[in-house]
Symmetry: C3
Subunit: 286 residues, 3 copies
Amino acid sequence: MGETGARTSMTNKNSHPPVDGPLSGIVTLLTDFGIDDPFVGMVKGVLLARFPEAKLVDLSHSVPARDVRHGAFWLARTHGWFPAGTVHLAVVEPGLRAAPRAVAARVGLHYFVGPNNGLLSTTIDQAARAGSSPIEVREIDLGRFAPGKSSPSRSHHGRDLYAPVAADLAAGRLPLSQVGELLEDVARSPIPQAHKRMKMIEGEIVFVDHFGNLVTNVDARMIEEMPNATAYVQKRAIPMADSYFDVDPGEYVALINSLGTLEIARRDSHAGSSLGVGQGATVVVG
Amino acid sequence: MGETGARTSMTNKNSHPPVDGPLSGIVTLLTDFGIDDPFVGMVKGVLLARFPEAKLVDLSHSVPARDVRHGAFWLARTHGWFPAGTVHLAVVEPGLRAAPRAVAARVGLHYFVGPNNGLLSTTIDQAARAGSSPIEVREIDLGRFAPGKSSPSRSHHGRDLYAPVAADLAAGRLPLSQVGELLEDVARSPIPQAHKRMKMIEGEIVFVDHFGNLVTNVDARMIEEMPNATAYVQKRAIPMADSYFDVDPGEYVALINSLGTLEIARRDSHAGSSLGVGQGATVVVG
Amino acid sequence: MGETGARTSMTNKNSHPPVDGPLSGIVTLLTDFGIDDPFVGMVKGVLLARFPEAKLVDLSHSVPARDVRHGAFWLARTHGWFPAGTVHLAVVEPGLRAAPRAVAARVGLHYFVGPNNGLLSTTIDQAARAGSSPIEVREIDLGRFAPGKSSPSRSHHGRDLYAPVAADLAAGRLPLSQVGELLEDVARSPIPQAHKRMKMIEGEIVFVDHFGNLVTNVDARMIEEMPNATAYVQKRAIPMADSYFDVDPGEYVALINSLGTLEIARRDSHAGSSLGVGQGATVVVG
């Protein structure tokens, strides 16, 4: 359970791991379990059995099945609205032949528990780019937290592995330093970074929201450096504006959304259906 | 922040505004955000960051997108089942060219926070007709509660404006009197009132519920004045009964539902699909 | 309110009813109400009005409408993950001509409130087979808990009858012994038991989960007695394995799932759609 000592470039430069901060008692849940089946309910049962004072909040259980990049984006863009000291339990786990590789992490003042498959890496990258947050990532010691799992198929990792660790972290009885070994690196998320090429930004649609708006991976800061930009989706030029309502009903508009990224909307309508594009489609700004 | 003094006919006749009552610590949420996206989660994050002891309860996030009348009906018919001193956060906001006009209100022993677009007016009208509840409606002072919102598009009003006000009201640290100026009138909801014409009641279907039952805007009290009435939907005569089970399986029945309004059901079946009618269709009782 | 005295073979052999154990303050909710309509919200309002400290957890509100067997299976297989002293409020009520027959029960260290229509009987049978849990089932005294319900149609039993009883039990102010008379027997669930015939197990699909996996009623213990077994669905032979990932993508696999029953899955795919089978289809193991 000792530390390997060396911190990687991914983590911050402090020679000592950060001391665990005050805890909010909140555990958020982000999964691809859906809410029809009682799988989320069982996770909550375990959380409350181990930490009866836990305040549980659903972030979403509608990550498309096995879509790690989608979950990674949501986690990175939304966890910061919760109080410092919140534990975020995230499970989107597309399949393992072997034992799971599970991680617990601290990024700034927030804690994360989930699979080491890229789900947390967008959050970590975002914090690493910002440069100021202490980052500490540890591999969960399965021998300690999931002992005697003879039949992997019977195991519901959200319930049997991640929930106990999240509950104990949130309750303050498990310091992050005791979860397991420091990790040199975490699995990468498949979310591509939006990038600049020839004065143009190339990004892509990460998901289509409930209202049909196309949410992209182009961060607001990239747009801010390009006054008078226009967005392009399938060669259609879409003007940038401050608000959905700077255009007439039925018109397309590009704007910075409440997640802090570029979004393509169609006023009072469903842009995704109208344009016939969805997740993964290219968006260019220039 | 001072009061304008005069109370309007919409509000009660007390010359002094009601003193804030005891608070339950509960905040309910009613939106058209859906639960797939993490937008509701962010609202809850802000509520808990400002008021960690808040007890959050989802009323529904499935108000059809931008359907203010639907949300207004649900809010009016369901809020009363919560304890006195509950704050109801309701957001169905079909689009604004300008800054939002936001209100906070007390109706009887309940508090409400949301847009001034008709979403609250069915609740207020209902209380005004009953005549006994103190009613106080105030426009939220945006300069104070949403300062420096330079880019309206980045703003998620549920998260950035309504949640902070709701949290502070529920926590008891923001008296309603300090939210902003008293409002002379609130925006009207587009829900038509059921009305009597030639001894017949004319109403309409407000929504089709999960079981396919047609929920109307005809209040139980109107029906009680008409013993031996029959309901008519698309010229089909449907007998009134006390219960779904006073008719045989597959038969239609009209009854007073648990929301206190007239409902058309088809026993063990889906009345909406069977009759081919939905929201807005006319229902006559006579 | 006195006891009938004799305990039936369904219940345990103790001559004294069990003493109520410590309570967790948690109330879980399992219904077929869906989450679009605000019916669940009203139930929670009543629970919190009567027991403000209640911790409410949704088990699922997506039991298919009126599908008692589906709800019964979920309740039996999932309640045990919650802490001892939890009250489980379950409502799937396909229709009553007369007053509801409502029950409250203790099974082991868990409490249950709901209709006497089979929804609780799978849980009770499961505990009775295990043999060790104290079981106590009482019919809720409607004269006491639902007085003056003149119009049954206006009643939302989840809200008006089951929620008050569940809240009072969870709050510790209503001992189970005061809920009503001991019941000699409860209504049976229509879930058939998987059974052995000619060295083969015959079971059926109870539901298709969010990922398309076919969940059956064949308990893990029946399978454990049959090493080297193969599962058959529509004459297709499906090999047993320990995990979804013991087969290649696109291949079918049979395994013991996290609910403790046999499940048929198709790796990285939707077994239900692929096989064209659903609830009620026969599964054979041999």
